[in-house]
């Protein structure tokens, strides 16, 4: 039933672009360095060093070090500088075309994190869109997801199962606020675990409506400073430093990345409770396994209805599914009459420390 494009097999790679018949010229193929546009001679979110890289967003599983030229959104550039150092960056704004070897490229809001973009490429009337990571709910920070019409849509599927249905952001924010207030009433600090780029900024916004006593981990602090310098408005936060006293941290809200969870760094927040903000918290077993006090299903990825809605809105003739539950989502799309293929990417190196989604 499912069709799997075997991209491990390099002979298939060379003579069969992702098109499986019908489509004349594929605009993108998977190579051992990732998604490649032969006509334009560039890669999208490559896994290794290449000459020309277009970057959807600054998360570490998408933006990697070592390429000669980078193209990204204006708001992504300072984040790449922060994370990858100085490189040859070219940035652009949403909807403004850039041409490389005659291939028309434009970036469109993906709603995932600040600066995150879908990549639209057009050549000889053929249009492909690479979603990167995306979410369909407007979080007020990342820009509203834009449905871009295309022939072929390459979609992510991190939460591609019908059990993943998010509550509106306002409700999750309320739950987080409620939890902080309860902790404060019990003289307990609230440690919120969130990815430092994307989730952390949303959690800071949620917390800032009820308290101005917000501390952040160094990694989040650096991101915060970078974003402020870029001109993004964010609430005021304080950095946890060795000089920060226990008294200052009493009853505070502390935002930390997953890598800090359970480390001695958290010692001086005692007494505290830990709340994890992640779409994975939707399933109880995950929350319990991580032994957290509270789990908030706050995600920067589209939920199941969001994925289906976005895919339909592109009116794509063909959908290629990657990054998550590709087998499930491609099978479901096929059964509902949308031509879809599962893209397995066994060559992709793992995300460092599993830090980001």
């Amino acid at each position: 039933m499912d069709k799997v494009l075997d991209i491990k097999n390099s002979s298939v790679l060379e003579n069969s672009p992702l098109g499986v018949g019908g489509v004349s010229a594929a605009l993108l193929t998977y190579t051992d360095k990732g998604l490649y546009c032969q006509q334009g001679g560039f890669y999208i979110d490559p896994w290794g060093a290449v000459d020309k890289a277009i970057i959807t967003h600054a998360h570490s599983d998408h933006a990697r070090w070592g390429s000669n030229h980078y193209l990204c959104h204006h708001l992504t550039k300072p984040l790449l500088q922060l994370r990858l150092g100085n490189n040859n960056y070219q940035s652009t704004t949403w909807g403004e075309p850039v041409y490389i070897n005659g291939v028309k490229i434009s970036l469109h809001p993906a709603g995932h994190i600040i600066g995150s973009s879908q990549i639209r490429i057009e050549y000889n009337g053929e249009i492909w869109v690479v979603s990167g990571d995306y979410k369909t709910e407007n979080d007020g920070l990342s820009g509203a997801f834009e449905a871009v019409k295309c022939h072929t849509f390459i979609t992510e599927s991190t939460f591609g199962l019908p059990i993943y249905k998010w509550q509106p952001q306002a409700i999750i924010y309320q739950q987080i606020q409620q939890w902080i207030l309860e902790n404060q009433a019990n003289n307990t600090s609230s440690v919120l675990i969130a990815y430092s780029l994307g989730k952390a900024q949303r959690v800071i916004e949620a917390a800032a409506t009820i308290t101005n006593n917000i501390y952040v981990h160094g990694a989040i602090w650096n991101t915060h400073e970078t974003l402020l310098n870029t001109g993004i408005h964010l609430p005021t936060v304080k950095k946890v430093t060795p000089e920060t006293t226990k008294a200052e941290l009493k009853n505070a809200v502390i935002i930390a990345p997953p890598s800090a969870d359970g480390t001695p760094w958290m010692k001086k927040f005692q007494p505290y409770k830990v709340g994890v903000c992640s779409g994975w918290m939707q399933v109880r077993g995950n929350a319990r396994r991580r032994n957290v006090d509270a789990g908030f299903s706050l995600s920067d990825h589209a939920d199941w209805p969001g994925l289906l809605q976005a895919i339909k809105a592109t009116q794509a003739e063909r959908v290629l599914v990657t990054h998550g539950f590709q087998a499930v989502l491609s099978r479901y799309l096929t059964e509902t009459g949308i031509e879809a293929y599962e893209i397995n990417t066994p060559l992709m190196p793992p995300t460092p420390k599993g830090e980001e989604e």
């Binding site: 199962l161 249905k165 939707q282 006090d293």
Partner: protein, 572 residues
């Protein structure tokens, strides 16, 4: 029967039937379950229970006591049908439901996550009927109803509830309410809210009562105990002794007995009737016709504590034989012959209609011996069935340690040490009673199949099947799920995912590489198992990272263990 532990002043302090407001209903219960299920701290759980017992309606409280003490109404529908109704309702293909279930690992939760959102309650319509007791009493009412009626009830209810409440409701249907709360903790919370002593509460909520037919005030009224002839006493449980009893003082202060591998039971004779209770608080009188003769022989007002176990000519037989008896609704003559059940009595809780639990053990033991001897006098038939559990005579700890080495030859698992001056307490208490089990038997084996766990481990491969060597072949002989740390489980999970050879449904065949030391308490011959043996309480003792597959034990080693420690009789 006179209850020596009850005390009149407590009665006056207890606001019978006063407490409890009626709102909150099912949502109050579901948030209680949520806290109990997610909290990692016992004090928080205790507080949540206390809060519940001081705010919920009396009717719901009775049901909470019932559920947390294992008195759930019978299951009205099986999982397959429940799943089917959900699939119909959500309009998704079955395979997608199954994929979801596979990821979540819990049926009740999968359904709660997949159902369409609850429609808004029309203005002016009250939600007050939605109480825990309402739903559970509907379960009882609909037990024998036609399927469409049950379906209508369940779907209507789903549509009344929020996602969290649906999860709890589904759990009530599917059972497996293994949320992080012990009966002991519930009893403690009740004790704090009602100001009745915990041991009294444990006694009051034991035995035979129907949550639908009793009110909260009567259930927790110390004077009501005497009205129920069948009511057992809460069992006193021993702690495991880790070291040798070096600092236990003079051995003459202790009574040593064999530790039997059966089911802890209470035999009650009151007002001409006989009742047999298991430690799981199940009334099992009808399961053991062997004991029936006691109805005429035992004096009224007698309660004995002891071990229900298969035995012949006073020799214990494998535990598996007992299992063949418990599972049956009716017992045939053949089963009575093949799996004869006896009783080793080791304590007396009620004598001459008086609760004697506060008397010291040595006094209770004398009274017990008295009863057994006078009851047994001249009754040869009974002598094969009911026996005093013998005490072991030793004049020094060293002598006792030597005697303990012979435990397995006696068909026992080790020793029990009980302080002669000890009262019969309630629940698990440190200090006076100890179980001093033999070291477990161990065998090194390789992991060859893995399956995802449930609940907390729903996304990890944590259920394993192990094999020993038989020449060039690997022969499976046991499953095991417990004994490792979360970190080790994560490590094995990663190995399983990277080294799967085949997939059969949820089971993966794993490259035979990881070696574990499997510990177990007993071994018996079994025709059902490929290896020909069945283990008792198998668990992963440790991960032998230092061993390779060709260093594991062999089927021959297992068979040798069976020859030495197994009983001849087969538990087919």
């Amino acid at each position: 029967m006179i209850n020596e532990t009850s005390n009149n002043s407590q009665l006056q302090n207890f606001p019978l039937g006063v407490g409890g407001f009626l709102d909150g209903g099912f949502s109050l219960f579901s948030s209680l379950v949520n806290i109990l299920g997610t909290s990692t701290k016992n004090t928080e759980k205790l507080n949540a229970l206390q809060h519940y017992f001081s705010t919920a309606s009396d009717k719901d409280k009775v049901w909470v006591i019932a559920i947390f003490s294992g008195r759930r109404p019978k299951r009205i529908i099986n999982s397959t049908i429940l799943q089917q109704w959900c699939v119909e309702l959500i309009d998704l293909p079955l395979w997608l439901f199954e994929e979801s279930y596979h990821t979540v690992g819990d049926l009740a939760e999968t359904i709660a996550l997949l159902l369409p959102p609850k429609p808004p309650t029309p203005k002016g319509e009250s939600q007050s009927g939605l109480t825990l007791s309402h739903y559970l009493e509907e379960f009882i009412r609909l037990e024998k109803a036609e399927e469409p009626i049950k379906k209508d009830f369940i779907i209507t209810t789903w549509m009344q509830l929020s996602q969290e409440e649906r999860f709890v409701f589904n759990k009530l249907i599917t059972g497996g309410f293994r949320i992080g709360v012990s009966q002991k903790m519930m009893v403690n919370a009740l004790a704090k809210t009602t100001k009745i002593e915990a041991s009294t509460i444990a006694h009051l909520i034991s035995g035979n009562w129907q949550p639908a037919n009793i009110n909260f005030a009567d259930l927790l009224n110390p004077n009501m105990v005497s009205k129920d002839d069948s009511k057992p006493y809460p069992f006193y449980l021993a702690y495991a002794l880790e070291d040798d009893p070096q600092n236990f003082g003079n051995i003459t202060e202790w009574q040593a007995e064999w530790k039997w591998d059966g089911i802890r039971g209470q035999i009650i004779k009151r007002n001409g009737e006989l009742y047999v209770w298991s430690r799981g608080e199940e009334l099992m009188t009808d399961k053991f016709p062997e004991y029936l003769i006691l109805k005429t022989l035992l004096p009224d007002g007698t309660v004995m504590d002891g071990e229900i176990l298969p035995m012949q000519d006073l020799q214990p037989l494998p535990f598996s034989l007992l299992q063949t008896r418990i599972g049956r609704k009716t017992i045939t003559k053949k089963q009575l012959q093949e799996a004869p059940i006896g009783f080793f009595a080791y304590d007396l809780l009620e004598y001459n209609t008086t609760d004697i639990r506060t008397k010291p053990l040595q006094e209770r033991r004398l009274l017990l011996e008295n009863i057994i001897n006078s009851t047994l006098a001249g009754n040869q038939l009974l002598a094969n069935t009911i026996q005093l559990s013998p005490t072991i005579q030793a004049t020094s700890w060293d002598e006792l340690i030597t005697l303990r080495q012979g435990s397995r030859d006696m068909g026992s698992e080790g020793l029990m040490l009980k302080r002669k001056s000890s009262p019969y307490q309630v629940g698990r208490k440190v200090g006076d009673w100890w179980k001093w089990k033999m070291e477990p038997m161990v065998i090194d084996a390789v992991l060859i199949y893995a399956q995802k766990g449930h609940g907390r481990r729903s996304n990890l491969y944590t259920d394993y099947t192990f094999a020993v060597k038989d020449g060039d072949r690997l022969v499976t002989f046991t499953k095991a799920y417990s004994g490792l740390t979360d970190k080790e489980f994560n490590e094995i999970d990663a190995f399983v995912k990277a080294n799967s050879l085949e997939k059969f449904g949820p089971v993966r065949t794993v490259k035979p590489e990881l070696v574990f030391e499997i510990a177990f308490e007993g071994i018996a011959a079994s025709a059902r198992h490929k290896s020909g043996v069945a283990l008792r309480f198998p668990r992963m003792n440790r991960w032998r990272k230092d061993k390779k597959v060709d260093e594991i034990n062999t089927l021959e080693d297992l068979k040798n263990m069976l020859r030495i420690y197994g009983n001849k009789k087969d538990g087919k």
